[in-house]
């Protein structure tokens, strides 16, 4: 969210103070280190400690705000009350105008959820796992229905407050940054199609702002879990985020990227290139004539570049040289575009082309994937 004030040594953005109010928990979800049966030291922050830390970090420009979540102390209400108290104190006593993201506790009273939305910018309800069957297997005390319920009520409140605001100016904004959710991937044997189906349902049904994916980190030897030592699926996580971007910013339908025929994403190449290689009939795209929608689909052309192309061609036809000057990464794009006397490859079969692109851009495709990286060039 907003500004990255620093970066971890592994290159991830740090913009919020992320705090777990406590790692006490009455539940026993197999994929979680805080689970009841795990033999670890338990600790908890007081409400005031979290407030002090947040406000003092914020005033020094270390952070944009707070991301607060928690294990479950006694019951949902007891825990949620504390989360809300932190947000309320920050806003009311410290006039804190930074960002607050509260991870809500499913099962907490409706009034608490509503209060949370009045102080927080964003609320999230985590779906935890992409499929109900997976959840049943690893967290038998939980079910997706209980998580969907607060999502629906948050969405209704957001709409309701918006409507009221139209009539009464002083109506506060409810969770102005909307709601998000998160799910662990790779803990059960779900396909990428399962994941994308779930996430696109969340976007459509509850108007979520973001769905986050988090690659499973093996924490426990158990028959229902991947073996200890199984690598964290970082590349898969990145490919899922790329797919998410294609849906949100590149006008792609989820079915175009994963479907019954292709239920899993290609790990070696990004999903946009993958789509292009499966749909060669759309290419080469004439950058001087094609509409914005098609320009966006050219591998190697990002949203910014697509906008630049559409703006710049009004002043005269574009050729390869001009495209390069615009800063378009041509190593991939060149195969898929036509402009001036350049016509992208059309007679080479997709497999050979894929191989060629992979070889030319080795460094780009191997190693180091992170959701914070710019996802497409």
């Amino acid at each position: 969210m907003g500004i990255c004030h620093t970066y971890t040594e592994d290159g991830r953005c740090v913009s919020l103070l992320k705090i777990l109010l406590t790692n006490h928990c009455i539940y026993d979800c197999l994929y979680c280190v805080s689970r009841k049966s795990n033999n670890i030291k338990r600790a908890a922050f007081t409400v005031d400690e979290v407030v002090e830390l947040t406000i003092n970090f914020y005033r020094r420009n270390y952070i944009e705000g707070l991301f607060l979540s928690s294990g479950i102390f006694k019951d949902a209400d007891f825990t949620m009350e504390r989360l809300v108290k932190v947000a309320k104190k920050l806003r009311q006593e410290h006039k804190f105008n930074g960002y607050i993201h509260l991870k809500t506790i499913p099962g907490a009273r409706d009034e608490l959820m509503r209060e949370a939305g009045l102080y927080a910018d964003r609320l999230s309800v985590n779906l935890e796992l992409p499929t109900s069957s997976g959840l049943k297997l690893l967290a038998p005390d939980k079910n997706h229905k209980d998580m969907i319920k607060p999502m629906a009520s948050i969405q209704q409140d957001i709409l309701k407050f918006k409507e009221e605001k139209k009539l009464i100016k002083s109506t506060p904004i409810f969770a102005p940054a909307g709601q998000s959710s998160q799910m662990i991937i790779g803990a059960t044997n779900e396909s990428d199609l399962d994941i994308i189906k779930t996430s696109s349902t969340l976007y459509q049904k509850f108007n979520l702002k973001r769905v986050y994916f988090s690659g499973y980190v093996p924490v426990l030897e158990h028959q229902n879990l991947p073996m200890l030592g199984t690598p964290v699926p970082l590349v898969r996580e990145n490919r899922l985020y790329q797919t998410d971007w294609l849906m949100r910013f590149y006008q792609f339908n989820p079915q175009e990227i994963v479907n019954e025929t292709y239920p899993n994403l290609d790990l070696e190449i990004d999903p946009k290139l993958s789509w292009a290689l499966r749909n060669r009939g759309h290419f080469p795209v004439d950058v001087n004539k094609a509409d914005y929608h098609m320009i966006l689909r050219i591998p190697g052309v990002g949203v910014k570049s697509a906008k630049k192309i559409v703006a710049a061609r009004k002043f005269g036809a574009l050729n390869l040289d001009k495209l390069r000057k615009l800063g378009i990464a041509m190593n991939r794009a060149q195969h898929f575009i036509a402009c001036g006397n350049h016509i992208g490859i059309s007679d080479m079969d997709s497999l050979t082309l894929r191989q060629m692109i992979l070889q030319n851009g080795k460094s780009k495709f191997s190693a180091n994937f992170s959701p914070q990286l710019s996802l497409f060039q």
Partner: protein, 252 residues
Amino acid sequence: MSFLIYDGTFDGLMTAVFESYALKLESPQVYTKDQLGPQLFEQVLEVSSDEEKALRVKTKIKSILGQNGLQMLWKATLSEGAEVGNIVLGVVRYALKTEKNILKDYGHPSVLSLQEIMKKLSRERHRMTAFVRFKLASDQVYYATIEPDFDVLPLISDHFKNRYADQKWMIFDLKRNYGIFYDLRKVIPVEFHNPEAGQSLSVISIEWDETEKEFQSLWKNYFKSTNIASRKNTKLHLQHVPRRYWKYLVEK
């Protein structure tokens, strides 16, 4: 070839543009005194900043490129680049010739250069909004010092004013030896006149608030805890936080 020398201010540059037209110069070049070394054979003309002439040029630019376009040209001068005068002049001449808003004509060399400057400026501006680290002094003012590549204080002033409207703060540019101070109502520029040249805020000792140390170390600990050693990726890290910015960062 003729050279026009301006005083480094935006109005000065606009005056130079005015003169280049008034004198019907063929292929004029504009520089500040420092940017242009001594010239033996060329025609060098020193232009003194003239508000009225500058205003006429600005009005004309605004009518073609809009308020945003004019702003952009002003911002470009904050980059302090050696060629920035010529780039601005090039864009203005192109705009006047075509009478069109050509700011998106990336095919034109001056426009392209201008856009590249804007990109660099905005990156540096963004970095400063991120990497400024305030320290709380015992007088309850939050202080920060920076040494940005470009003169970005005018560009970050509003951001900090909006964000920290209820705390007094000062950000000081050590390279340019001036700062901005927010007194809970407005942002005012501040300068330190030191008798000894080269001295600046860094030598003025400030007494820090007694909690300052503690929050710094809490932040350091937090930063350490966010790190996942097994995923260490120095190349990526340096791409985001180039080494020259480390000196600002408490956590480094």
